[in-house]
């Protein structure tokens, strides 16, 4: 380990000061509000005056609200679909990248990754143009290719809107998970592939029996990152549909924003924020547990 010894007392004090000042700032900006959030969720508070402690009343009211379960359902649906879509497609591309037949690998990697660095808001608006019912690119394309009967009001139809909004989100982040898993693939010793190929293990088999087990840890990280990332989905939806029509594409984060800043109900807003936190941790924890136990190698 490349470490150094602390020589003098003066040095020790110096180090402590330099580390603790930013650390305390960090705790007060990031961890403090978290504790506050839990406290406010137990109070009735309109943002002015003193918060009044009311115990779990906010939570009880929240759990009895049908809209809350609707947005929880939306969020969980998006989390499931986006995780399967993003990590699944990324994994397939990752497999294909190990195949010699695939051309222009560097080009694909650079291009598929690009949407990751775009602002979610921009991605949302661009896809709004694509989905636009009257003169959107998608409908224009369908009309031009003679598939008019497939044309839909992609963002205006409550029965398909969740599926529609998941596409841009998946599309944007495939590249991120692809790159993470590709870096794990690059770390696999070449001899393993070579000897597997000698034993007749090629193509699809190679991917499932060699590549996947070898990158399992990265795969797990991708799933967890993606699931907990999608749980807090907000920007995309604001730009795409703003939650509509009705609440049919509203996420928990949007619901929290609405309660807090539109209705001015800070206590309830905090309760929703805590709920997001609990859901995200529960999902991350479950995934961690399930995927570690089902280790398919060793």
């Amino acid at each position: 380990m490349n470490t150094r010894e602390i020589r003098t007392k003066k040095q020790k004090i110096f180090i402590y000061i330099l580390v603790l000042i930013p650390f305390i700032a960090f705790v007060s900006v990031m961890i403090g509000p978290l504790a506050n959030s839990v406290y406010y969720s137990l109070t009735k508070w309109k943002g002015v005056g003193l918060p009044k402690f009311i115990g779990f009343a906010n939570y009880i009211k929240l759990f009895k609200t049908a809209d809350f379960w609707l947005v929880v359902g939306n969020t969980l649906y998006l989390t499931l679909v986006c995780t399967l879509g993003q990590v699944g497609i990324a994994l397939v591309i990752c497999f294909l990248m190990t195949i010699r037949r695939l051309r222009f690998k560097t080009f694909h990697r650079a291009v598929i990754f690009f949407p990751v660095v775009m602002a979610p808001i921009v991605v949302g608006y661009v896809w709004r143009f694509i989905y636009n019912g009257d003169n959107g690119l998608l409908n224009a394309f369908l009309r031009a290719t003679g598939q008019s009967r497939l044309m839909k009001n992609w963002l205006g139809d409550p029965s398909i809107v969740l599926r529609s909004v998941s596409v841009p989100v998946i599309w944007q982040y495939i590249g991120l998970y692809m790159v993470i898993m590709l870096s794990a693939v690059a770390a696999i010793p070449e001899e393993i592939f070579e000897s597997a190929e000698l034993d007749g293990c090629t193509g699809f088999k190679k991917s499932i029996y060699i590549t996947l087990p070898m990158i399992w840890d990265s795969f797990k990280i991708c799933i967890i990152l993606c699931a907990s990332g999608t749980m807090k989905i907000y920007d995309h939806l604001v730009a795409l549909t703003n939650g509509g029509p009705g609440r049919s594409s509203e996420s928990m984060a949007m619901y929290c924003y609405e309660y807090t800043f539109r209705y001015g109900n800070f206590g309830m807003g905090a309760a929703i924020a805590v709920a997001i936190l609990v859901f995200a941790f529960a999902i991350a924890g479950t995934l961690q547990f399930v995927m570690t136990r089902r280790k398919i190698y060793e």
Partner: protein, 279 residues
């Protein structure tokens, strides 16, 4: 033989075409965004996919004139630059000290930084809003800076820590013998060597802050302090009639990121991977 060849070609197509399709779908929207922003509204209404007949920049001029785009751009640039200077300064100090020295409490600090990367940041919006309201710093030039700095701190510290782990202490030891104190060794000897990782930290921070939306929406309501991402939502309500004006706004919000991506592709890849794996 020819049958085998045909089969081979079939496989090649099967592998190459879907990926090529995906790749093209990833750049086409950006290309479309850029050329469409040079069209007139009439042209756009006739055919949203066609190339502009007479490319013109009046949308951009109008975005600056009518929609205060200059102000939005300035604010975003200001937030990005101030945050990244602070992130760089703080994360280098913390990363360096946490990596090089072993002291009581180091484990806790490290652990908390790591754990905080799992916090869904959106859960913090309401309490941070309340806190800033109490402190009276809502709607000021410093509303967003602390949030952005602390948001980017954990990843940056881990990147720097990871880099220093692989760097021997010889240089600092030599500098110490020559009479340099810790502060000097840190900034004059080690900082310059850390250039690769520093640039990764700078680029990642810049891009995250540039693209950030939720906090900017909540903590800023003053017109003259709004950022470009918030400005974009404005376009849709106030100028929804003009699609091409919105397109020019979207293009302007994307240009800096695009340029940085083209120039610093490797650092971005590296940073994204390291950040994810550590998280």
């Amino acid at each position: 033989m020819s049958k085998k060849k045909a089969k081979n070609a079939g496989w090649n197509l099967l592998v190459n075409i879907p990926i090529m399709f995906l790749s093209l779908s990833c750049i086409y929207p950006v290309v479309w965004l850029i050329y469409s922003s040079l069209k007139t509204d009439q042209e756009f209404a006739v055919n949203p996919m066609s190339l502009p007949l007479h490319p013109m920049f009046s949308n951009y001029v109008e975005a600056f004139k009518k929609a205060h785009f200059g102000t939005f751009l300035f604010n975003t640039a200001y937030n990005s630059i101030v945050s990244l200077i602070l992130v760089l300064f703080i994360s280098f100090i913390m990363g360096y000290l946490l990596s090089r020295y072993r002291f009581k409490g180091r484990g806790i600090i490290f652990g908390l930084l790591l754990a905080s990367m799992m916090i869904p940041i959106y859960a913090l919006i309401v309490p941070i809003f309340i806190q800033e309201k109490k402190l009276g710093i809502l709607n000021t030039r410093v509303s967003l800076i602390p949030v952005y700095v602390m948001m980017e701190l954990p990843t940056s510290v881990f990147l720097i820590d990871g880099y220093l782990k692989g760097l021997s202490t010889e240089l600092e030891d030599a500098a110490a013998i020559d009479g340099a104190n810790l502060w000097q060794a840190m900034w004059k000897v080690i900082f310059p060597i850390c250039k690769p990782i520093i640039s990764t930290v700078v680029i990642l921070t810049f891009m995250h802050v540039w693209n950030e939306f939720a906090f900017a929406q909540v903590l800023i309501s003053k017109e003259e302090l709004k950022t470009i991402q918030i400005g974009l939502t404005y376009f849709t309500s106030q100028y929804m009639k003009s699609y091409t004006l919105l397109l020019s706004g979207l293009a302007m919000a994307t240009f800096p990121v695009l340029v940085i991506y083209l120039f610093f592709y490797n650092q971005i890849m590296h940073g994204m991977m390291a950040g994810a794996v550590k998280g």
